[in-house]
């Protein structure tokens, strides 16, 4: 498996070439170069998956492989940082997801971004992002993961702010960076705590859950909790920042200011699931030492899921709806991980979470790319400017419908299988959780079909020119992802990824399956009745009846305002302003005083250095006279 190194090297090379000399290339050439190199990466990823999953199992589980693990920084003692590549079922699964979606986005962008200023820069950043994301999933130790985690944050920042002349895009990129950075602080402290007490960064050692390794962290306590719980909770905060869990979800909707393919790649399929991946990576540790934290993750996930789904029902911007839907679906994955346990039966949630990650990446990327095609056609993000587009955009219409059905959980599309497993896991955790998640699944179906009908049915709105189908470069990725969405559900996923590595047989629980499909169908029916004909006044009447709820939801429940209040009123006014005054008047004043006195002294002694030799001679002469006078006075005294 030595070739796995090239999976990382190729995107990096692509980034370096495009970043350094890209501006000299023609845009088409740079796009092609990026796509070809990424195509090679994708092939290598598929080859890795093929060889990995066809290799014989060891004790019923796939072996963890480490083709590379080199010592990078050695600080002596027990502190050393390694860089390497770790292959295990989830990282190989992530490889396939990331490279597939990234390749599709690369191809799609050649059509979508055609003629944009900075096309080469765009491709350079895409390559950088792909490199960092692949590095993140392949990390052998938590420190290497943190490095790539930050790189992912930076490339996300660069891509959200791609249209850097637009003030909203700049503000959004700044917001995304600051919020995730803030969460990463928790992650960093968590890493430090964990590695201080266990003395290792390696996932391999951590996930072995050796009691001897963790005894220190379990015994030490902090604020009444054991340090291991605190550390794992802090690490989850990092994951929650990247994965937009409540209350750190505020950056994701704004991040939609970036180009649409970027939203598909980063803010739907890959980067936002980094948090889920992080929890999954450390899942054995969570499960063995901090089940309470794991349950907390489940509750946070469930609340976020409900919260975001409620907001998604009233948003009018097509990409914002998708963004909130992403938050909601990631909530589902977190719930799945949170309710899961270790073992053949208890591990349903783990398997389901990973399965949902896989299927969601495909159909959410499809939804975003479809949204891109729609935006491309009508030049607007607002749903009110769409309507009746099904005749104009047949390919987009069909693929979008497939993705909507998948996310709503209608068989035989992929979303049904993964979501059903999550619901089953929630029901076995507690009936309340199961019912709540089923309700949210229904809400998902409702808002997705609200979106669908508002775009493709309803009253056609006036356009300056007739909307036209996107070019083949854009429709081919749509069709490919739609096909994947159709068939991905039949992958025997449990054979590849499960909590303990053993084969997990997916069998559908008929009660759960029938309930969830029924709920989804009812929700879809409701959406059909309300939105299929643009003339139905029901939505407006509902909005008036529940005007308080409606306004609150369209303002995203005022979470942004709360943040603004805390930062502006409390942090800026009460803390930052006095500190700024101190800095400006005391610290700066002291330094200015030093420079001012040096200046004065220099001014005073300037006359001595006139450069006038005659003056020097004069002073010299007077000095000589003085010395002579002194000598004479001595002489006379004798």
């Amino acid at each position: 498996m030595e070739f796995t190194l090239y999976i990382l090297i190729l995107p990096l090379v692509s980034f370096l070439i495009l970043g350094l000399v890209g501006y000299k290339m023609k845009p088409a050439v740079s796009g092609l170069l990026g796509s070809v190199l990424l195509g090679a990466t994708t092939l290598l990823s598929y080859a890795t998956a093929f060889f990995y999953f066809t290799a014989p199992r060891v004790d019923g589980a796939f072996a963890k492989l480490m083709p590379y693990n080199m010592k990078w920084l050695d600080f002596g003692g027990s502190l050393q940082f390694n860089l390497g590549i770790l292959l295990d079922p989830i990282s190989v699964m992530m490889l396939v997801v990331i490279s597939t979606v990234s390749l599709m986005v690369h191809i799609y962008s050649m059509g979508y971004m055609r003629g944009e200023k900075g096309f080469q820069r765009y491709y350079a950043f895409l390559s950088l992002f792909t490199f960092s994301m692949l590095g993140l999933v392949l990390a052998t130790n938590i420190f290497q993961m943190y490095l790539f985690w930050e790189l992912v944050g930076v490339s996300s920042f660069l891509l959200i702010g791609f249209y850097y002349t637009k003030p909203e895009a700049v503000a959004a990129s700044k917001k995304a960076f600051i919020v995730t950075r803030f969460a990463d602080l928790g992650f960093l402290i968590g890493i430090l705590l964990l590695s201080f007490y266990t003395g290792t960064f390696d996932f391999d050692k951590l996930c072995s859950c050796d009691p001897a390794l963790f005894s220190g962290a379990i015994q030490a306590s902090f604020l009444g909790y054991s340090v291991i719980s605190v550390a794992l909770a802090l690490i989850f905060i990092g994951g929650a920042g990247k994965s937009a869990m409540f209350p750190l979800q505020i950056w994701l909707p704004d991040a939609m200011e970036g180009p649409t393919p970027v939203s598909a790649l980063i803010h739907a399929a890959t980067m936002v699931v980094a948090g889920v991946f992080l929890v999954a990576r450390l899942f054995p540790v969570y499960n063995a030492f901090a089940p309470d934290v794991l349950h907390g993750i489940a509750y946070v996930g469930a609340f976020t899921s409900l919260f975001a789904a409620a907001i998604a029902c009233v948003q009018t911007d097509i990409k914002r709806v998708l963004a909130f839907s992403t938050i909601s679906q990631i909530g589902f994955m977190m719930v799945a991980l949170g309710v899961s346990g270790m073992g053949t039966h208890e591990g349903t949630g783990y398997m389901a979470g990973m399965f949902h990650l896989f299927t969601h990446a495909m159909f959410k990327a499809l939804l975003f790319l479809g949204a891109g095609a729609i935006i491309h056609a009508v030049h607007s993000n607002e749903m009110s400017n769409m309507g009746g587009l099904r005749k104009h955009l047949p390919v987009t219409h069909i693929t979008f419908l497939i993705a909507c059905l998948a996310i709503s959980g209608i068989p035989p599309f992929s979303g049904f299988f993964s979501k059903d497993e999550i619901l089953a896991a929630s029901f076995s955790f507690s009936p309340l959780m199961g019912i709540a998640m089923s309700g949210i699944a229904g809400l998902t179906a409702f808002y997705m079909f609200r979106l669908y009908y508002k775009i493709f049915w309803g009253t056609p709105s006036e356009h300056k020119h007739t909307p036209h189908e996107a070019p083949a470069l854009m429709t081919v990725p749509l069709i490919f992802l739609a096909v994947v969405t159709c068939v991905a559900g039949f992958i025997p996923f449990g054979e590849f990824v499960s909590s303990d590595g053993l084969i997990y047989e997916i069998h559908l629980d008929p009660t759960v399956a029938i309930t969830s499909v029924l709920v989804a169908c009812v929700a879809i029916g409701f959406a059909t009745w309300m939105y299929k004909k643009g003339s139905n006044t029901m939505p407006d009447r509902l909005a008036i009846t529940f005007s308080g709820l409606h306004t609150a939801a369209s303002h995203r429940f005022y979470i942004d305002e709360v943040y603004l209040f805390i930062t502006r009123k409390i942090i800026f006014d009460r803390i930052s302003t006095p500190i700024a005054w101190f800095d400006r008047h005391i610290v700066d004043g002291f330094m200015n005083g030093i420079s001012w006195s040096a200046n004065r002294v220099a001014y005073l002694i300037r006359g001595f250095q006139s450069g006038n030799v005659q003056q020097y001679a004069y002073v010299f002469l007077i000095g000589t006279f003085l010395i002579v006078a002194l000598a004479l006075s001595q002489y006379i005294n004798f």
Binding site: G611, V613, Q614, A617
Partner: protein
């Protein structure tokens, strides 16, 4: 002997005075020559009256005259070049490098 020394002292202080107050490069050069010559005279006088059977003072003076001739040649060359470039040999105007 005292008369010689008085002449020499007058020459010496005339030279120092000229060196300090003169504004022209040539004037300063002549003042330096005056100082040198007064020293030469001192050498001669002390050699002649204190150690009449020795010759070091004479030879020292000869060498000093030779050296001062060479020095004058160089100094005058510098003066000429300064004049060519700046059309003045007044030391007040020679402050190009200050700014």
């Amino acid at each position: 002997m005292e008369y010689y020394l008085v002449v020499s002292a007058i020459m010496m202080f005339a030279g120092i005075y000229g060196f300090i107050v003169r504004r022209s490069l040539l004037g300063i050069l002549i003042s330096i020559e005056l100082i040198l010559n007064s020293v030469d005279i001192n050498f001669m006088v002390f050699n002649r009256y204190l150690y009449p059977d020795q010759m070091e003072g004479f030879f020292f003076t000869l060498f000093a005259i030779g050296v001062s001739a060479a020095e004058t040649a160089i100094a005058i060359a510098i003066c000429i070049n300064v004049y060519r470039n700046l059309h003045s040999i007044n030391v007040k105007n020679l402050d190009e490098m200050k700014n």
